[in-house]
Amino acid sequence: MSTETSTTKGSDDLEHEEHTHGGTDKQYFQIFWILVVLTALEVSTEWWDEWFGEGSRPIAVFVLITLMIIKFFLVASYFMHLKWDTPILKRIFYFGMIVAIAVYLIAMTSMNFWTDSGTTEFNDPPPAPPPVEASD
């Protein structure tokens, strides 16, 4: 129903402009090549240590995060048609994404992820648990 196929009479007149999906094949190819270049750039950070020295590490992380976000939005906006679809979809999806990011970042912060990779003072590991036979 209300799909944008030609048989769907009602929706056709109603939302034609905003609902016309997507780009052309050519556009998609362009996006794809951009994604390829970005991915190549991402992968290249693996060797930045050798090329630019140890100091480039934080920059590499920053670049990686940025590229990741760009790629994410490219795919979401173009391939997933968010750019063209009604904003409701965008709001629902990004709402979920933001909740996820916020909630998990807070949880990770609370678990001291940023300061020392999650460990608080560890006491001696307790004696090894027994081999478990009771349940398989």
Binding site: T120, E121, F122, N123, P125, P126, P127, A128, P129, P130, P131, A134
Partner: protein, 404 residues
Amino acid sequence: MRNKRSATIWTGIALVVVLFFGWLLVRDIGLPGGRALTTLSPQGPKAQEIQNLIIPVFLVAGLVFVLVQVGLVWLVVRFRRHKDDRDGVDEPEQVHGNTKLEIGWTIVPAAVLAVLAVFNVQTTLAMDNADDPLEITVIGNQWWWEYRYDLEGDGVVDIITANDAAIPVGRDIVFKIQSNDVIHSFWIPALAGKMDAVPGRTHQRVMRADEPGIYQGQCTEYCGLSHGVMRMQVTAYEPDDYDTWIEAMTTAPAQPDPDDELAIAGQELFVTQCSFCHQVNGLDPNSSAPFEYSDLPDPDYGASIDIPLASGNAPNMTHFMMRPYMVGGLLPAYEGLSRGGGGDQRTVAEPIPSGTPEENNLKQWLREPESIKPMNPDNNQGMPNYNLTEEQIEQLTAYLLTLK
């Protein structure tokens, strides 16, 4: 108009009823006697600070409570429908809302809470303050607590004891709380709030006792089968008494009297039967008569044992009879103490107990441990029943009573 008068009457009745129950509540929680775990009878500064925070909160909440309940009763009576009201004729005014009012009752509670929040922040930040503290390590086990004292701070554990921690009066104590198996929670309500013992982590809780006495505690994080009876005590001594206690605990206990055949036999039995799990400083399963005690415990005792333990080690028994309670803080070791910790026992605090031991409790424990405390020794949780004969129980009891 009928409604108006009966509304006043009923509101009055509701007010009386609500206040009566409120009084009942306040009266009841205000009685510390007989309630060793009450949260509303603070005996140390940390607990007092919590009390100072929560009392205003309770007052504000109580006020809102009374207003809402009484108001509800008033509304119910005042605006109830008359029998002769006709639908479509005697209709109420159709009010859809009142933005000012609603913004008002959004902002006012928020403001009240904001004020209370300031105190909340202050108290929270004050919880961890400690001045020249004494550090005691607490380790939760299924279902008992171990305390380790490193008196000189040199990394050598000088005292290991179980379930009953001795502290000096008037000094800040930092409990370093750890766990050997599952999550427990260390809680002495009269002295401070609770803190979970989480395996892999060390948490701390600061407390101080202002008066000498035995302070009861209870594990409050669900930890399996015997969670409900996983107790602990903190005994606060005057500084002199505390030194006496330290002195006694850092000395090896005396050997049983050579004439006391029962105790000698019990000692032998202990080494062969009990010392796989229970440490008496210096003794181990491989030792043989004449036995020699040591004045230092071996903190790795459990790890060297070749039995897989789900719940770590078992309590150190070196100065067993120095503790006012036994069996995970559950049973009194001396007459005159109560099993539930009821009564005002804060006066009973001798550094070296001199009362009459509760032999029967000990014997019953040896005879049928699971009758006192539910355990699952098949899964290495808790003490197995060794089916000791009555004679062996006599011997063991005689020996254990010598461990002071």
